[in-house]
């Protein structure tokens, strides 16, 4: 039906998250029909990203500079570090725009099933960083899952001897949440973390 080059483009697009073979075919057709407006700029942007984006050697963020723009921002509080599972979580925190410290990307969570141990994550680098950069507080922002919280407790244990303050994100009712739609666990956690008004 399509030439080898087009089939290859569709196959590669279909491997992207959120795209299946059908949507990849639509995306390929869209790009090929609008070569100047869509395909060439996309190619250029992808080439630039491939050539310049790298992993920050300090925090694990993705940026064109190393250290990244967050780590080299002098206005940010270097004594406050937020630990996140992945770069996507870092971006989510940045979207909120309320955290003015720096980050540390773990690269996942401890998972027996997937064979992810402490040595597979950036935990030793975090401990080194806390000691060397005189960090005062570490905020553990791992997911509220069994694996995420197991990782958080493990990190808290590893940091126990460094004298740094370790905190975690609160669990409870999300903004816009209605109790009727919440699971029992979230309601229980919210009730335990209730505060005086």
């Amino acid at each position: 039906m399509a030439g080898g080059e087009i089939e290859r483009l569709i196959q590669l697009l279909a491997k992207l998250p959120g795209l299946g073979p059908r949507s990849a075919r639509r995306a390929a057709l869209y790009l090929l029909k609008r070569q100047e407006a869509a395909l060439v700029p996309l190619l250029r942007a992808m080439g630039d990203a491939a050539a310049h984006v790298r992993t920050c050697s300090v925090c694990g963020n993705l940026d064109t500079a190393d250290p990244c723009s967050i780590c080299s921002d002098g206005k940010r509080d270097a004594t406050l570090v937020c630990v996140v599972e992945d770069v996507a979580d870092l971006w989510a925190m940045e979207r909120a725009g309320v955290f003015r410290g720096r980050y540390h990307v773990l690269g996942g969570v401890l998972s027996a099933l997937d064979g992810v141990g402490p040595e597979d994550l950036a935990i030793p680098a975090l401990v080194r960083r806390v000691v060397e950069q005189e960090v005062k507080e570490v905020v553990l922002a791992t997911g509220v899952t069994v694996d995420g919280q197991t990782t958080a407790h493990y990190i808290a244990d590893r940091l126990a001897g460094t004298g740094v303050a370790v905190s975690g994100l609160a669990h409870g009712v999300p903004v816009g949440g209605e109790l009727d739609y919440l699971d029992d666990g979230t309601i229980a956690a919210a009730l335990r973390a209730r505060h005086p008004l």
Partner: protein
């Protein structure tokens, strides 16, 4: 074919973008796995956590297929233990041990009931002894039960203090004293049935069950990391007194 049964989720692994392969220990069908479509979505993500008791419905065209699972939550110990490192380690360890020790699709109702009791106990103070007793029960269910009724050397049942690593039988304090370095310590709560025990006793209990699980059930050197972490935490608690 299809069935509906109560089960405790042991693990959930992402499959593709939206689905999850869930492994659960059910009352009548043993340890089973199945695909939960849409399992990564907001509605189901919270339910598909290790330690959650669910009403599971499994469907497949043939019995040997992976099958599709749907899970309706019944109760969950997860939310109550997320803030407590020891209890969370116990929950993860219990699920990992069940996952690693039990063969697939063979019913072990005793192991299931025991795991339900263990999950319920996590809300109270007795969970450490319940955990050790559950592992002892698991060994027995798998055919490697320990004989703690009387001393293997003297036949008497007073002052049982050790377990022989070779036979899995109890040994009394006097008979075992010359070989104490070669024997495993038998914590008192396993003899007297105490509900509460000191961290040192629980550590001895975990060392005892861990030895026989490693020897008979897990392949050499492959103790689930979650269980090893609980063991390390209990060792630290025992050393701290």
């Amino acid at each position: 074919m299809d069935w509906t049964d109560d089960g405790i989720i042991l693990s959930a692994r992402r499959h593709g973008e939206t689905s999850v392969i869930v492994s659960l220990l059910t009352r009548e069908h043993g340890r089973c796995a199945g695909l939960v479509r849409g399992g990564t979505g907001r509605r189901q993500r919270g339910v598909l956590q290790a330690g959650t008791l669910v009403r599971a419905t499994w469907r497949a065209r043939l019995a040997e297929h992976l099958g599709n699972l749907s899970c309706e939550p019944i109760s969950s110990a997860v939310a109550g233990v997320l803030g407590d490192s020891m209890r969370l380690a116990a929950l993860s360890a219990a699920c990992a041990v069940a996952e690693a020790a039990l063969p697939e699709r063979e019913p072990y109702p005793g192991a299931f009931e025991g795991l339900c009791i263990l999950m319920d106990s996590l809300a109270g103070e007795a969970w450490p002894t319940v955990f050790v007793k559950w592992e002892l029960g698991l060994l027995a269910e798998l055919g490697y039960g320990l004989d703690l009724s009387c001393c293997a050397a003297t036949g008497r049942n007073d002052q049982l203090a050790y377990v022989s690593p070779k036979t899995g039988r109890a040994v009394s304090l006097s008979a075992g004293e010359p070989y104490r370095n070669l024997l495993l310590r038998l914590p008192e709560f396993l003899i007297l049935g105490d509900v509460l025990a000191s961290p040192a006793e629980v550590f001895d209990g975990l060392a005892l069950t861990g030895y026989f699980l490693t020897r008979h059930v897990f392949a050499a050197g492959s103790v689930p990391p979650a269980r090893a972490r609980l063991f390390d935490r209990m060792r630290a608690a025992a050393e701290a007194g």
